[in-house]
Amino acid sequence: MPKVIVEVMPKEVLLDPAGKATARALQRFGDGEITDVRIGKRFEITIDGEVTPKLLEHINEVAKDVLSNDVIEDVISIRVAD
Protein backbone atom coordinates (compact mmCIF):
# COMPACT_ATOMS: atom_id res chain seq x y z
CA MET A 1 0.00 0.00 0.00
CA PRO A 2 1.34 3.48 -0.80
CA LYS A 3 2.60 5.72 1.95
CA VAL A 4 2.56 9.48 2.23
CA ILE A 5 5.38 11.06 4.21
CA VAL A 6 4.72 14.26 6.12
CA GLU A 7 7.61 16.07 7.80
CA VAL A 8 7.09 18.71 10.49
CA MET A 9 9.77 20.85 12.14
CA PRO A 10 9.67 23.29 15.04
CA LYS A 11 9.88 26.86 13.76
CA GLU A 12 13.43 28.13 13.25
CA VAL A 13 12.93 31.07 15.58
CA LEU A 14 11.88 28.89 18.51
CA LEU A 15 14.17 27.35 21.03
CA ASP A 16 14.37 23.56 20.57
CA PRO A 17 15.67 22.32 23.94
CA ALA A 18 15.66 18.67 22.84
CA GLY A 19 17.72 19.50 19.75
CA LYS A 20 20.08 21.63 21.80
CA ALA A 21 20.68 18.86 24.36
CA THR A 22 21.28 16.38 21.53
CA ALA A 23 23.72 18.77 19.85
CA ARG A 24 25.68 19.03 23.08
CA ALA A 25 25.87 15.24 23.30
CA LEU A 26 27.02 14.93 19.68
CA GLN A 27 29.70 17.54 20.25
CA ARG A 28 31.40 15.14 22.63
CA PHE A 29 32.18 13.02 19.55
CA GLY A 30 34.02 14.29 16.51
CA ASP A 31 36.12 17.38 16.14
CA GLY A 32 33.57 20.11 16.60
CA GLU A 33 32.08 19.89 13.11
CA ILE A 34 28.57 19.55 14.52
CA THR A 35 27.26 22.92 15.58
CA ASP A 36 23.49 22.47 15.89
CA VAL A 37 20.72 19.85 15.89
CA ARG A 38 17.01 20.43 15.45
CA ILE A 39 14.52 17.62 16.05
CA GLY A 40 11.34 17.33 14.02
CA LYS A 41 8.71 14.71 13.25
CA ARG A 42 8.14 12.40 10.33
CA PHE A 43 4.69 10.87 9.81
CA GLU A 44 4.28 7.82 7.54
CA ILE A 45 0.66 7.64 6.50
CA THR A 46 -0.50 4.40 4.88
CA ILE A 47 -3.13 4.76 2.17
CA ASP A 48 -5.68 2.18 1.13
CA GLY A 49 -5.82 2.65 -2.64
CA GLU A 50 -4.39 5.21 -4.98
CA VAL A 51 -2.86 8.51 -3.91
CA THR A 52 -4.99 10.95 -5.87
CA PRO A 53 -4.51 14.73 -6.04
CA LYS A 54 -7.73 15.01 -3.99
CA LEU A 55 -6.31 12.74 -1.29
CA LEU A 56 -3.07 14.71 -1.21
CA GLU A 57 -5.11 17.84 -0.76
CA HIS A 58 -6.86 16.19 2.19
CA ILE A 59 -3.51 15.16 3.70
CA ASN A 60 -2.29 18.69 3.16
CA GLU A 61 -5.22 19.91 5.24
CA VAL A 62 -4.79 17.46 8.13
CA ALA A 63 -1.03 18.14 8.09
CA LYS A 64 -1.80 21.82 8.59
CA ASP A 65 -4.68 21.41 11.06
CA VAL A 66 -3.78 18.32 13.11
CA LEU A 67 -0.26 17.01 12.49
CA SER A 68 1.27 20.44 13.01
CA ASN A 69 0.48 23.59 14.97
CA ASP A 70 1.36 26.60 12.86
CA VAL A 71 2.09 28.69 15.93
CA ILE A 72 5.10 26.54 16.78
CA GLU A 73 5.77 24.30 13.77
CA ASP A 74 6.11 24.28 9.98
CA VAL A 75 5.12 21.50 7.60
CA ILE A 76 8.36 20.99 5.67
CA SER A 77 7.29 18.44 3.09
CA ILE A 78 4.49 16.16 1.96
CA ARG A 79 5.38 13.49 -0.55
CA VAL A 80 4.53 9.97 -1.67
CA ALA A 81 7.12 7.42 -0.57
CA ASP A 82 9.01 5.60 -3.32
Partner: protein, 231 residues
Protein backbone atom coordinates in the same frame (compact mmCIF):
# COMPACT_ATOMS: atom_id res chain seq x y z
CA UNK B 1 -24.58 25.96 39.22
CA UNK B 2 -23.29 22.90 37.36
CA UNK B 3 -19.61 23.00 36.38
CA UNK B 4 -18.34 20.16 34.21
CA UNK B 5 -14.81 18.76 34.33
CA UNK B 6 -13.81 16.79 31.25
CA UNK B 7 -11.72 13.67 31.78
CA UNK B 8 -9.55 12.67 28.83
CA UNK B 9 -7.47 9.47 28.78
CA UNK B 10 -4.41 10.59 30.72
CA UNK B 11 -6.07 13.42 32.65
CA UNK B 12 -4.56 13.71 36.09
CA UNK B 13 -6.11 16.58 37.99
CA UNK B 14 -9.76 16.06 37.11
CA UNK B 15 -10.65 14.86 40.63
CA UNK B 16 -8.95 17.85 42.22
CA UNK B 17 -10.84 20.18 39.87
CA UNK B 18 -14.17 18.53 40.75
CA UNK B 19 -13.35 18.92 44.44
CA UNK B 20 -12.35 22.58 43.97
CA UNK B 21 -15.72 23.31 42.37
CA UNK B 22 -17.50 21.63 45.28
CA UNK B 23 -15.44 23.56 47.86
CA UNK B 24 -16.26 26.81 46.02
CA UNK B 25 -19.96 26.01 46.38
CA UNK B 26 -20.71 24.70 42.89
CA UNK B 27 -22.17 21.45 41.66
CA UNK B 28 -19.37 19.45 39.97
CA UNK B 29 -20.24 17.24 37.00
CA UNK B 30 -17.80 14.66 35.64
CA UNK B 31 -17.73 14.62 31.84
CA UNK B 32 -15.99 12.10 29.57
CA UNK B 33 -14.06 13.00 26.41
CA UNK B 34 -16.20 10.65 24.34
CA UNK B 35 -19.49 12.22 25.48
CA UNK B 36 -21.49 13.56 22.54
CA UNK B 37 -22.90 16.45 24.61
CA UNK B 38 -22.16 18.59 27.66
CA UNK B 39 -24.93 17.23 29.93
CA UNK B 40 -26.38 20.71 30.38
CA UNK B 41 -23.49 22.15 32.40
CA UNK B 42 -23.15 25.92 32.85
CA UNK B 43 -19.34 26.08 32.74
CA UNK B 44 -16.44 23.77 31.95
CA UNK B 45 -12.97 23.08 33.34
CA UNK B 46 -10.37 21.29 31.21
CA UNK B 47 -8.06 19.72 33.81
CA UNK B 48 -4.31 19.15 33.94
CA UNK B 49 -2.56 15.92 33.08
CA UNK B 50 -1.13 14.24 30.03
CA UNK B 51 -4.12 13.67 27.76
CA UNK B 52 -3.45 10.94 25.21
CA UNK B 53 0.09 10.63 26.59
CA UNK B 54 0.93 14.09 25.21
CA UNK B 55 1.34 12.29 21.88
CA UNK B 56 1.61 14.46 18.76
CA UNK B 57 1.72 17.68 20.85
CA UNK B 58 0.45 18.42 24.36
CA UNK B 59 -3.32 18.83 24.18
CA UNK B 60 -3.43 18.31 20.40
CA UNK B 61 -5.35 15.04 20.32
CA UNK B 62 -7.65 16.17 23.15
CA UNK B 63 -8.46 19.28 21.08
CA UNK B 64 -9.85 16.97 18.39
CA UNK B 65 -11.75 14.60 20.70
CA UNK B 66 -15.54 14.15 20.29
CA UNK B 67 -16.61 16.43 23.16
CA UNK B 68 -14.37 19.32 22.08
CA UNK B 69 -16.54 20.39 19.14
CA UNK B 70 -19.32 20.94 21.71
CA UNK B 71 -16.90 22.85 23.95
CA UNK B 72 -15.81 25.09 21.06
CA UNK B 73 -19.46 25.81 20.17
CA UNK B 74 -20.31 26.56 23.81
CA UNK B 75 -17.25 28.78 24.21
CA UNK B 76 -18.23 30.78 21.14
CA UNK B 77 -21.68 31.27 22.67
CA UNK B 78 -20.12 32.63 25.86
CA UNK B 79 -19.96 29.63 28.20
CA UNK B 80 -17.21 30.01 30.83
CA UNK B 81 -14.30 27.67 30.01
CA UNK B 82 -11.16 27.31 32.16
CA UNK B 83 -8.12 25.38 30.96
CA UNK B 84 -5.51 24.41 33.54
CA UNK B 85 -2.06 23.24 32.41
CA UNK B 86 -2.84 20.47 29.90
CA UNK B 87 -6.29 22.07 29.64
CA UNK B 88 -4.61 25.35 28.67
CA UNK B 89 -2.58 23.48 26.05
CA UNK B 90 -5.83 21.95 24.75
CA UNK B 91 -7.54 25.37 24.50
CA UNK B 92 -4.58 26.71 22.55
CA UNK B 93 -4.64 23.70 20.21
CA UNK B 94 -8.40 24.20 19.74
CA UNK B 95 -7.69 27.86 18.81
CA UNK B 96 -9.90 29.14 21.63
CA UNK B 97 -6.87 30.96 23.00
CA UNK B 98 -3.91 32.54 21.21
CA UNK B 99 -0.26 31.48 21.14
CA UNK B 100 1.33 28.14 21.84
CA UNK B 101 3.13 26.20 24.59
CA UNK B 102 6.50 24.59 24.08
CA UNK B 103 8.99 22.61 26.14
CA UNK B 104 10.43 24.53 29.12
CA UNK B 105 13.55 26.42 28.08
CA UNK B 106 15.66 24.53 30.65
CA UNK B 107 14.41 21.21 29.28
CA UNK B 108 13.25 19.70 32.55
CA UNK B 109 9.94 19.21 34.31
CA UNK B 110 9.42 21.74 37.07
CA UNK B 111 7.24 21.71 40.17
CA UNK B 112 7.14 24.66 42.53
CA UNK B 113 4.80 26.89 44.46
CA UNK B 114 4.63 29.80 42.03
CA UNK B 115 3.89 33.42 42.76
CA UNK B 116 1.69 35.10 40.15
CA UNK B 117 0.15 38.50 39.62
CA UNK B 118 -3.48 38.64 38.56
CA UNK B 119 -3.24 40.96 35.56
CA UNK B 120 -6.86 41.10 34.49
CA UNK B 121 -9.96 40.67 36.62
CA UNK B 122 -12.44 41.39 33.84
CA UNK B 123 -13.17 37.71 33.18
CA UNK B 124 -15.64 35.24 34.64
CA UNK B 125 -12.73 33.26 36.14
CA UNK B 126 -10.77 36.15 37.70
CA UNK B 127 -13.46 38.59 38.89
CA UNK B 128 -13.07 37.34 42.48
CA UNK B 129 -9.51 38.66 42.67
CA UNK B 130 -8.40 42.27 42.98
CA UNK B 131 -6.50 43.89 40.12
CA UNK B 132 -2.79 43.23 40.56
CA UNK B 133 -3.34 40.77 43.42
CA UNK B 134 -0.36 38.52 44.11
CA UNK B 135 -1.24 34.87 44.59
CA UNK B 136 0.72 31.65 45.07
CA UNK B 137 -0.46 28.37 43.55
CA UNK B 138 1.40 25.20 42.51
CA UNK B 139 3.00 24.93 39.09
CA UNK B 140 4.07 21.61 37.54
CA UNK B 141 4.85 21.18 33.88
CA UNK B 142 7.37 20.09 31.31
CA UNK B 143 5.98 22.06 28.39
CA UNK B 144 4.78 25.35 29.78
CA UNK B 145 6.77 27.87 27.79
CA UNK B 146 4.23 30.32 26.40
CA UNK B 147 5.12 31.66 22.97
CA UNK B 148 3.42 33.76 20.32
CA UNK B 149 4.57 35.80 17.34
CA UNK B 150 5.30 39.50 17.88
CA UNK B 151 1.98 40.64 16.52
CA UNK B 152 -0.04 38.27 18.72
CA UNK B 153 2.03 39.19 21.75
CA UNK B 154 1.47 42.87 21.11
CA UNK B 155 -2.26 42.27 20.83
CA UNK B 156 -2.38 40.22 24.05
CA UNK B 157 -0.56 42.95 25.94
CA UNK B 158 -2.35 45.85 24.27
CA UNK B 159 -5.85 44.46 24.70
CA UNK B 160 -5.32 43.40 28.31
CA UNK B 161 -5.62 39.71 27.48
CA UNK B 162 -2.81 38.61 29.78
CA UNK B 163 -4.65 37.17 32.79
CA UNK B 164 -1.72 36.01 34.96
CA UNK B 165 2.00 36.77 34.99
CA UNK B 166 4.84 34.93 36.74
CA UNK B 167 6.45 36.90 39.54
CA UNK B 168 10.03 36.60 40.83
CA UNK B 169 10.84 33.47 38.79
CA UNK B 170 10.01 32.73 35.17
CA UNK B 171 9.83 28.94 35.54
CA UNK B 172 9.73 27.87 31.90
CA UNK B 173 10.89 30.64 29.57
CA UNK B 174 7.41 32.00 28.84
CA UNK B 175 7.52 35.23 26.80
CA UNK B 176 6.76 38.36 28.84
CA UNK B 177 6.46 36.08 31.92
CA UNK B 178 2.97 35.12 30.74
CA UNK B 179 1.40 32.42 32.94
CA UNK B 180 -2.17 32.64 31.67
CA UNK B 181 -4.29 34.43 29.10
CA UNK B 182 -7.96 35.13 28.32
CA UNK B 183 -9.98 35.54 25.15
CA UNK B 184 -11.41 38.90 24.08
CA UNK B 185 -14.87 38.07 25.44
CA UNK B 186 -13.51 37.11 28.86
CA UNK B 187 -15.28 33.74 29.12
CA UNK B 188 -12.27 31.58 28.19
CA UNK B 189 -9.18 31.60 30.41
CA UNK B 190 -6.15 29.30 30.38
CA UNK B 191 -3.14 29.11 32.67
CA UNK B 192 -0.25 26.74 33.32
CA UNK B 193 -0.24 26.83 37.16
CA UNK B 194 -2.85 24.87 39.13
CA UNK B 195 -5.50 26.80 41.09
CA UNK B 196 -7.29 23.53 41.94
CA UNK B 197 -4.31 22.48 44.11
CA UNK B 198 -4.68 25.54 46.34
CA UNK B 199 -8.28 25.45 47.54
CA UNK B 200 -8.21 23.75 50.92
CA UNK B 201 -6.19 24.60 54.06
CA UNK B 202 -3.71 21.81 54.77
CA UNK B 203 -3.27 20.84 51.13
CA UNK B 204 -2.05 24.04 49.45
CA UNK B 205 1.24 25.92 49.18
CA UNK B 206 3.01 27.07 52.33
CA UNK B 207 2.23 30.59 53.52
CA UNK B 208 3.89 32.77 56.15
CA UNK B 209 0.93 31.90 58.40
CA UNK B 210 1.19 28.12 58.29
CA UNK B 211 2.46 25.16 56.32
CA UNK B 212 0.27 24.09 53.35
CA UNK B 213 -2.36 26.67 54.24
CA UNK B 214 -2.51 28.49 50.87
CA UNK B 215 -5.93 28.66 49.22
CA UNK B 216 -5.28 31.32 46.59
CA UNK B 217 -6.80 29.17 43.84
CA UNK B 218 -10.28 29.02 45.35
CA UNK B 219 -11.29 32.50 44.13
CA UNK B 220 -11.02 31.31 40.53
CA UNK B 221 -13.81 28.79 41.05
CA UNK B 222 -15.83 31.20 43.19
CA UNK B 223 -15.50 33.83 40.44
CA UNK B 224 -17.35 31.72 37.90
CA UNK B 225 -20.13 30.87 40.37
CA UNK B 226 -20.66 34.57 41.14
CA UNK B 227 -20.48 35.53 37.46
CA UNK B 228 -23.13 33.06 36.46
CA UNK B 229 -25.47 34.06 39.28
CA UNK B 230 -25.26 37.68 38.11
CA UNK B 231 -25.81 37.00 34.41
Amino acid sequence: MRVGVITFPGSLDDRDALRAIKLAGGDPVALWHGDPDLHGVDAIVLPGGFSYGDYLRCGAIAAHSPIMSEVVDAANKGMPILGICNGFQTLVEAHLLAGGLIRNDHGTFIRRDQKLRVENIDTVWTSGYTQGQEITIPLKNGEGGFIADDETLKQLEGDGLVAFRYLEVNPNGSLNDIAGIRNARGNVVGLMPHPEHAVEPGFGPDTPAAMSSGTDGLAMFQSVLAATVLS
